[in-house]
Symmetry: C2
Subunit: 334 residues, 2 copies
């Protein structure tokens, strides 16, 4: 098979094949939404060298572990994390049974989608919103609630379902890696139970390859002796910052050779991968495209990328410019 | 392809194929170390019905999750859990730098392999042994220590490496399931960092499909800025009893359709799987073979199976008799 970076020579090679009596074929560019340039070249060069048996940097398939942050790396996190918008919608749905919430904080602000009002309440307000919407039901019930929501909810900013606010170049990158026998994982600060119901359909990543933050869950037998797991309003694990390499060790059990993030919350994951003894590849997605998405970095309240940019410069890590390196940002409208 | 339970008819069918002009073939029995009988028939019948597209019980491949306890289910746990024998060997190796341990408990008993002496010290002694041998190093260092040990250590009772004290019928069962597009996981009360270095070579189960108990791990940057994870002497998660379904939810994120255990510590995992809405299959391995292995159940200090036997009887769960259902217990000597 042809290496994708030789795709430009495809017609010459195809002619040769025809002369030799073989059917003409050429492997399509696996990263069509990436502009030709340093970022794409670096990605393909890394994948080539770790998958080429003749390369000194060849990596066995079972060690081809790739981890991806979710919010801001695989889908948009602006103007607000999608999981928070889900929580607001849940509060609105639950408010039918709670008329008192119309005047009671933090519910009042959540119902109004009033971020400023919520911020004024401090972290306590957000914690209460998450506890109210993410606990007190079985894991199966929560799965269904999320699945129903993600199937119908739309981003007001982009007027699209959230599952279409994923980054087309990243979908292609993950497909490309899986074609090359990488195993792809999400390692996100977001709630693991929130991501798993749609990760397979959206990203091709099954539930068991999603690592995320989680609340406590308890085992119960109901009156009929049926076993169920009930979500509790208590944080169990925060998969962010230094929690990301810890989560990788806990859930995956070996050090990835490739990781992509977009914020300082991913810095330690990238440091961990970049500290591997063998070949490795780390990158930040840099949100520098205010036309097609949202431009933000060092001073953003959401997805702040400050120390990460410094570390990338010092460590010669790839910084992907959404503006320059991506031909398109979102998938074409269906 | 022929279903394995029709293997007895293979010669007739093969003749038919020859008459029809097709090359003769018959699928080999996937479970050759299982005696013909109710247990083997039940396993094959379940696998057939969930993998046959025409069956009302067909299960999509991505939902074919199978979980297995380790100690006593996949390998022997008698006379003592293998991980504890590893810890004793570590204490002996470390004792060179700790001459004071010759007279100091719990080290003295561990060095002597004196289980009675250790038991007299209570849980505190064991906890100290585990803390001393399983913490204070990086995850990479511990991985190497375990890999080196498992490659050379032998069970004094059976005079075999521990990786050859695995149950041949269970190896075949897991292979058979994987051939049928099941994803196999270990869900063990044992330490996850202890199992992962050898699970792939021994069971065909990669590190990321091993769920187990774990100690706390912290992220550090060394003086050169290299990232590492350091194992701490603090329990983080006990993957036993009710912890097993909790661990399954946390690590795997969906309910298995098949689970096998051998002790009361697996009861809640089996209850969880048996409470699934779709087709499911649960089984206990019953240690009733004192000739080829060790017979124990309701009153054993290790691997006690008491409530589990009652639950199996009440729930019509499969109880696998090692004595009657297994043609051989361990793999043939290499």
């Amino acid at each position: 098979m042809f290496k994708s970076r030789f795709a430009g020579q495809a017609s010459v090679v195809a002619a040769t094949w025809i002369v030799l009596g073989f059917p003409a074929f050429a492997q399509a560019d696996p990263l069509p939404s990436w502009n030709e340039g340093a970022a794409k070249t670096a990605i393909v060069a890394f994948v080539d060298k770790v998958t080429d048996h003749a390369s000194p940097d060849f990596v066995q398939p079972q060690d081809r572990i790739a981890t991806f942050d979710n919010d801001g790396t695989l889908w948009t996190e602006q103007p607000v994390y999608t999981q928070l918008l889900f929580a607001f919608d849940r509060i609105r749905a639950m408010a039918k049974d709670h008329p008192e919430w119309a005047t009671q904080e933090p519910y009042k602000s959540a119902i109004a989608g009033d971020m400023k009002g919520l911020e004024a309440l401090g972290e306590k307000g957000l914690v209460q919103i998450i506890a109210t919407t993410h606990a007190g039901m079985t894991t199966d019930e929560f799965h269904q609630i999320v699945a129903d929501w993600i199937a119908t909810a739309k981003s007001p900013k982009f007027d699209r379902p959230y599952t279409q606010l994923v980054y087309q170049p990243m979908l292609e990158l993950m497909d490309y890696l899986r074609d090359k026998d990488f195993k792809t994982f999400i390692v996100s600060g977001g709630g693991v139970d929130f991501m798993r119901p749609w990760s397979e359909a959206t990203y091709g990543i099954p539930p068991e390859q999603v690592v995320g933050s989680s609340g406590k869950v308890t085992f119960e037998l109901d009156a009929q002796g049926k076993a169920r797991l009930v979500k509790q309003a208590e944080v169990e694990f925060v998969d962010d910052g230094a929690g990301k390499p810890v989560g990788i060790n806990r859930f995956i059990g070996h050090r990835p050779i490739l990781a992509v993030g977009n914020s300082d919350g991913d810095l330690q994951m990238l440091q961990y991968v970049a500290s591997g003894d063998g070949p490795h590849f780390v990158a930040f997605v840099h949100h520098d495209d205010d036309t097609r998405e949202v431009a933000y970095d060092r001073t953003s309240a959401i997805g702040k990328l400050d120390k990460g940019l410094d570390a990338a410069a010092a460590g010669d890590w790839l910084v992907v410019s959404m503006k320059d390196d991506w031909k398109s940002v979102f998938p074409p409208a269906p």
